[in-house]
Amino acid sequence: MKILIIGNGPAAISAAETLRAQDKGCEIVLLSKECVPFYSPCPLAEYVEGTVSRERLFLRAPDFYDQLGLQIHYGQAVTRIDSAARQVWAGDQAFSYDRLLLAHGSKAFVPPIPGLAGTQGVFELKTLADAEGVLARIPQAKRAVVIGSGFIGLEAVQALVHHGLQVTLLEAQNHVLPSMLDREMADIVEQQLIQHGVIVKTNHLAERVLSNAQGVCGVVAGGEEIPCELLICAAGVRADLSLLEGSGIASNRGILVDERMQTNVEGIYAAGDVIERPDAPDKHQVLPNWPNAVTTGRVAALNMLGIPRRHPGLEAVNVVRVFGLPIASFGVQQSEQVLRWHNGQGAVRKVLVSQERIVGGMLVGEVNGTGVLHELMKKGVNVAKFGERLTHPGFGYIHSMEPLRAIRWA
């Protein structure tokens, strides 16, 4: 059997490893758009900052592909999928397959700001090439602007501050981390940023990017001109759906898959940042994060080999650190009942409850035990009896245990 995987990220690699562990004989071909072996994109900001070395980004040994008998083709940007002929086209080269896995991930969203695209000194922080571009630009930059205060944006801010740049953060909405936090929690984060010398401008929509012979030289936002020599655009990521045209694969915001990671076209599966789960509890969400990429890649691989396995549901949880302050968030940010805990030293934990079930949580400063709360939400456990204790950092797994009193061990 010939299995073709589009992508070379965590979903693709976890799928390839699972396939090889299950089936020693099948032919596995990976098509990578980039020209470097598998690396982790999550510590890219730390790489720019200088706290993580380049070698550390590569999570597998140099001979990994040979060891597992994986054929990897670098620099192959897939342009078309011909599902009728079971072929994938990258430029004028065709690759045939018996089973196809789409694990090519997401791409940075570039807002339609005049002068943004293609200007020298403007970067996203999505790939290793982006990070290296930023590192090369830093020596000739004194001031930087980061557009977007999602977690990539905040990580980029920290990396640039670490290099001694004057950083301005632009956020179009009225507070930072709009998809993770509510106003009160975001204010704590904003204070943390300001304390570390970041100029935070919320309600500032970037209108125009200015450039001269040396590349970018400023941004116009909210009517004022902010000079800068380096610009990072971190306005979010979108599932990359560009290669689906004419393939007949159904998509909405991401490629629609069932709990076995199968698309509507027989023999074609999808995993990672690119998928959307219409059946999941968090309906129609695209959740681009590392745990989802790894677990969906694994489930897709097993099902491709005919081993039925269902995915329990995506992890709708994320965490970011802002100058040492940990921030975790899951589920929704608004609800009728909000339980709150704080320790008076900057740590605030909020658990959002609706109809006696947890529907979300936001934790700043103290994130221990977030997993326990998230699990209660995923299982739909009635939390009425726990009350305020839910928000306390000591709220642990013991609360979800029913003591076994039937057996006398003692």
């Binding site: 965490v319 642990g396 003692a410």
Partner: protein, 186 residues
């Protein structure tokens, strides 16, 4: 099957011997006095949680499909030769992804070292043929280091005994028994 740590929550009296032994084992000196003098102080990876009088030593369960291993974007969280999940602190960047996906609260975010802390099932002790520190230190046999088969046998015996005897143990009640009866009453 190889040995692993089992917990019988009904036996726990929250003496916290496991917490202390764990911190000592994960200190530089590996002695109690030495551990007390260390700066930063060594951290435990087992945590006594309580609800009323019911207590339970919470720690990593070394899941077979561990969410923390799947979630780790730097390859720090991994499995050793004895199937124990451990975190390589050199590779850990303190992103806390493992902390927020663990349904057991088995991984702790250590704010001072910026590293994820979790039970590693004491590889040094296990290599010497000893039980992990928390198990050795537990005076009530709440924590057991046995194979799943041995644990199942123990459990069957206890169930059979309870079914036949259907009574309290006859020995004089001591402090432990009083604590246990309190737990049952709760």
């Amino acid at each position: 099957m190889s040995k692993t740590i089992f917990t019988i929550p009904e036996r726990c009296v929250a003496c916290k011997s496991c917490e202390l032994a764990c911190a000592v084992e994960h200190s530089c000196s590996k002695t109690l006095v030495g551990a007390m003098m260390e700066n930063p102080p060594p951290q435990r990876r087992i945590n006594i949680e309580s609800v009323g009088a019911f207590t339970y030593p919470s720690r990593c369960q070394h899941c077979s499909e561990a969410s923390c291993v799947s979630a780790c974007p730097t390859g720090a969280m991994q499995r050793d030769a004895h199937d124990a999940v451990f975190s390589d602190s050199d590779k850990c960047i303190g992103c806390w992804m493992c902390v927020i996906v663990c349904p057991f609260g088995g991984v702790t975010a250590d704010q001072s070292s910026k590293k994820a802390l979790k039970c590693d099932r004491c590889p040094d002790r296990v290599a010497k043929g000893e039980a992990p520190a928390c198990v050795s230190a537990c005076p009530t046999q709440t924590l057991l280091y046995v194979t799943p088969e041995e644990f199942a046998t123990e459990r069957r015996k206890a169930t059979a005994k309870a079914a036949f005897a259907n009574s309290e143990p006859t020995a004089q009640p001591n402090g432990m028994d009083i604590l246990r009866s309190l737990k049952r009453a709760n």
